[in-house]
């Protein structure tokens, strides 16, 4: 950060990817071509990898041109912005899609007529000389299909075989290769094959290649949709910013904005980077980031966040975080990471898929042997068909895709609702939460107390009482004190000078104002100072029962008033808590407040269980107590005071304020204050886990049932044997099914409120 792009360009390392360099002697040619470009200090080519690192000041397009002049083609390999990377990826995906569709068309235009022939016209057997010639021609055509449409399977299979690993390509190449080779043997040297087994399977070869390419193409399309959420987030980034440098207004690319730049934003524009408002005021729509539907008012000193939209006024702000440091960039990063992480439920599938392909190959061999040993005539043909079908029907992809696809969509969906899930494990545990602990202050309530009642006891009126109390409290940092100061300011009351200020820890404060001695605090403090309280004790208890915190105010040792302060409950806390309870979650409230206040708040929001007067360091103990009862505990707090409890809970939910993105101690961060985010988080986790289970179940059943079926276990009982073409179709569509099922999660709706 803090360096202009021009400066970066002044000396850099560019990586180029070279294409068309077939011999080691090209290395010198390419290096020399690059070194001749002005500004290049050095160029080193790695021939094995076909890459060149170029150091110097030359610009990348000049480098590419130099390589092209030398007779090769080159591409720049550098990292760039998320948006560009995304556009490039979409382009690459589209090209890949078109290639797969083209290959599919070629393969099926041979496979479909052949299949129609075999089904309705005649047997694909080799008996006469004419048949031999005809099938030889078809066999060569099929080889053409294998080369044009199936080359990537064979190259992949060979590469991974060399590497002692096996993948989907291995199975497809082996399956189609076996079918084609056997058929060619039948055509070329029929006498090696028993007469009954002289059958060709060219239609299967072409159909399987075509169908699998079609499946891959459709899967690619469906996959594109799984990353919609992240695309939407990346799309929130502005492309340019209007900065003011040296009294001049410049439109510059967002990457070039520096920290401390002053940026102007007009109504309707996106805020380009994070910063602090220094001039003007406005309202900002932050819903795209936090899910909070109401626009937020901003004035001088308030923070603004990149990606949100300025609604009403024009304002200036100073950039505080730019580039990869903005909240939006961090959110994108966090969501990406979480989307690629796996919940524990996927582990078994992972272990299986690691051993899957070689096991399938072994099953194919066993199945062929079984047919050869025990099968009816033509045993050889049956053996070939069953081995091919086993290889083709086995689908490690469906198994491997089951979990990640759902996590991808689920985590993205959560992010749309303003819920950031740290990883797959948090997602899985959140779906199982049985007890939810809610911290009262700042979670159920707004966390900013307000004066609710002033009950005057003596000759003073409310105005005077507030003026004195606010003056007394103006030096205090306590939230209750600030509530009083704030309340006085709202009523336009001016405070005066304080002397001899003294805070009595845990009880209250005293001081002298305008020659009067003031005392402010709880019942205990006033009784100690022998202030007569009279029937105000009952009034205070009445206020406490309404979830308010009453405090006594005495002037010259005589009771002047009770001032009650309360922390208002958030508008939607009641509804959100009910959502959790309706989902079977046991909701427990935790607070440092006294019992009466706690009870009153709990009753208002419909919580039956609560712990009052809990000291901050006791919170994690309460979490453990519930865990001992066998509950899977979710803890919700503000992430700062509640960090230890959040960390010890099975899932920690931190209530953020929209900009504190990655709250360290939390597994799940709610970007808006509303508790609906919490209910949404639990709901989306449940939906995602259900989706994963469906996928895993489908993939397991598919492979566990499909393989024996393909091997021919049904044959002895029903005389049925699966056709390799059907196996190819089933295999092609199994991963598509998994991806499509995961895509259904996109329709999950976070509750509207």
């Amino acid at each position: 950060m803090g360096v202009k792009t021009e400066d970066v360009r002044s000396r850099s390392i560019e990586e180029l990817i070279i294409e068309g360099a077939g011999c080691a002697s090209c290395v010198g040619k390419i290096e020399n071509a690059l070194k001749s470009v002005s500004g290049v200090e050095n160029a080193e080519m790695n021939f094995a990898q076909r890459t060149v690192s170029v150091t110097g000041t030359a610009n990348p397009s000049a480098l590419v041109k130099a390589v092209e002049r030398a007779g090769y083609s080159a591409k720049v390999a550098t990292s760039e912005s998320d948006g560009d990377a995304l556009a490039e990826k979409e382009q690459a995906d589209w090209a890949y899609y078109k290639r797969l569709m083209r290959e599919m068309t070629v393969a099926l235009s041979l496979g479909v007529p052949l299949m129609i022939y075999s089904l309705f016209v005649g047997e694909m057997t080799v008996t006469t000389a004419t048949e031999r010639v005809t099938w030889l021609v078809v066999g060569i055509l099929t080889l053409g299909v294998l080369y044009f449409s199936g080359k990537h399977f064979f190259v992949g299979a060979w590469q991974s075989l060399k590497n002692h690993s096996a993948n989907m390509d291995t199975l497809i190449a082996l399956g189609t290769g076996t079918a084609w080779l056997y058929s060619m043997v039948v055509v070329l040297v029929p006498h090696l094959v028993p007469e009954m087994a002289r059958h060709v399977y060219f239609e299967a070869t072409a159909m399987i290649i075509g169908l699998i390419n079609l499946g891959l193409a459709l899967e690619l399309k469906a996959r594109g949709r799984t990353s919609e959420a992240i695309k939407r987030l990346i799309g929130l980034q502005a492309k340019t910013a209007r900065v003011i440098r040296d009294d001049k207004q410049l439109d510059i690319a967002i990457e070039d904005v520096l920290e401390e730049d002053v940026v102007r934003v007009r109504p309707g524009e996106k805020i380009p980077v994070d910063g602090k408002v220094i001039e003007g005021s406005t309202t900002v729509d932050e819903s795209m980031l936090t899910g909070e539907p109401m626009p937020v008012e901003k004035s001088v000193g308030d923070d603004v966040v990149a990606g949100t939209i300025n609604k009403s006024g024009s304002f200036l702000f100073q950039a505080t975080r730019v580039g990869k440091d903005t909240a939006l960039a961090q959110i994108i990063n966090m969501v990406k990471r979480a989307q690629n992480s796996k919940p524990p439920i996927g582990r078994l599938a992972d272990i299986i898929s690691a051993y899957f392909v070689p096991v399938v190959m072994i099953i194919a061999v066993i199945s062929a042997l079984a047919w050869l040993n025990f099968g009816p005539e033509p045993a050889l043909a049956f053996a070939v068909v069953s081995a091919t079908t086993v290889l083709i029907i086995a689908c490690p992809c469906a198994l491997g895709l089951a979990t990640p696809m759902s996590v991808m969509v689920g985590v993205g969906k959560a992010a749309e609702a303003g819920v950031l899930i740290r990883n797959g494990e948090a997602l899985q545990t959140a779906s199982k939460v049985s007890a939810m602990i809610l911290d009262k202050t700042g979670t159920i309530t707004l966390g900013s107390p307000k004066v609710t009642d002033v009950l005057v006891a003596s000759e003073y009126d409310e105005q005077t009482v507030l003026q004195l109390a606010a003056t007394l409290e103006s030096g205090s940092e306590h939230p209750l004190a600030q509530a009083i100061v704030e309340s006085a300011r709202e009523r336009g009351i001016k405070t005066s000078k304080v002397s001899n200020f003294n805070a009595i820890a845990g009880h209250g404060v005293e001081a002298e104002v305008d020659g009067k001695s003031l005392l402010f605090g709880n019942e205990k403090l006033l009784r100690e100072r022998q202030v007569e309280l009279g029937n105000f004790v009952e009034k205070a208890q009445g206020l406490a029962a309404e979830a308010k915190t009453p405090m006594y105010f005495a002037v010259d040792n005589e009771l002047a008033a009770i001032i009650a302060v309360a922390d208002p409950i958030k508008d939607d806390s009641v509804a959100a808590i009910k959502r959790l309870q309706d989902n079977g979650v046991r909701v427990v409230m935790l607070t440092g407040d006294n019992r009466a206040t706690a009870e009153a708040v709990a009753e208002k929001v419909g919580i039956k269980e609560f712990f009052a007067e809990v000291l901050p360091d006791e919170k994690s103990k309460k979490v453990q107590e519930l865990q001992m009862e066998g509950e899977i505990v979710g803890m919700t707090g503000d992430g700062i005071n509640d960090a230890p409890a959040l960390a010890i809970a099975n899932v920690g939910f931190a209530i953020g304020t929209g900009t504190d993105v990655a709250i360290e101690s939390a597994d799940i961060t709610l970007m808006r204050g509303s508790l609906h985010g919490l209910a949404d988080a639990v709901a989306v986790s449940k939906a995602t886990l259900r989706n994963i289970k469906q996928n895993l179940f489908g993939a397991f059943i598919y492979n566990v049932a499909g393989i024996p079926f393909a091997a021919g276990v049904l044959y002895p009982f029903f005389g049925m044997l699966l056709s390799p073409v059907i196996a190819g179709a089933a295999m092609a569509f199994s991963s598509l099914t998994v991806v499509s099922n995961a895509n259904r999660l996109r329709f999950f709706k976070a509750k509207k409120h």
Binding site: N46, L161, N340, P358
Partner: protein, 117 residues
């Protein structure tokens, strides 16, 4: 028939040995400009030897278009990165205890190992 059965069993033995028992050669980080190329269903090289207790940087280059090759996962290190196509991607590996650390693509069809020590 006996011959066919023996050949079949030998084939199974070969599969077991080739895919599970054989340890492929490993490349040492620092020997030349090591780039792990993702292409045709494999990482090459797929076994990368790195020094223990020292953070290092691995270079990945994805030339494969298939969507699964796009994600690189190193589960033990909680690393999950998207590999752009035809662009070098640098992956920071923290200082590691001696041992083996698997990396693979999203569906685990592409597999490799980092060997620290």
């Amino acid at each position: 028939m006996l011959f066919i059965n023996i050949a079949g069993i030998a084939l199974i033995a070969l599969i077991v040995w080739w895919f599970w028992l054989y340890t492929p050669q490993q490349m040492k980080l620092g020997e030349g400009d090591l780039v792990i190329v993702v292409e045709n269903g494999t990482y090459s090289p797929s076994r990368i030897k790195i020094p223990e207790g020292k953070p290092v940087e691995l270079k990945f280059l994805r030339k494969d278009q298939s969507p699964c090759s796009e994600t690189l996962l190193i589960p033990k290190l909680e690393i999950s990165e998207t590999l752009p196509s035809n662009k070098l991607k640098l992956i920071q590996i923290p200082a590691l205890e001696p041992g083996e650390y698997d990396f693979h693509c999203q569906m685990q069809m592409y597999r490799g190992k980092i060997v620290a020590g």
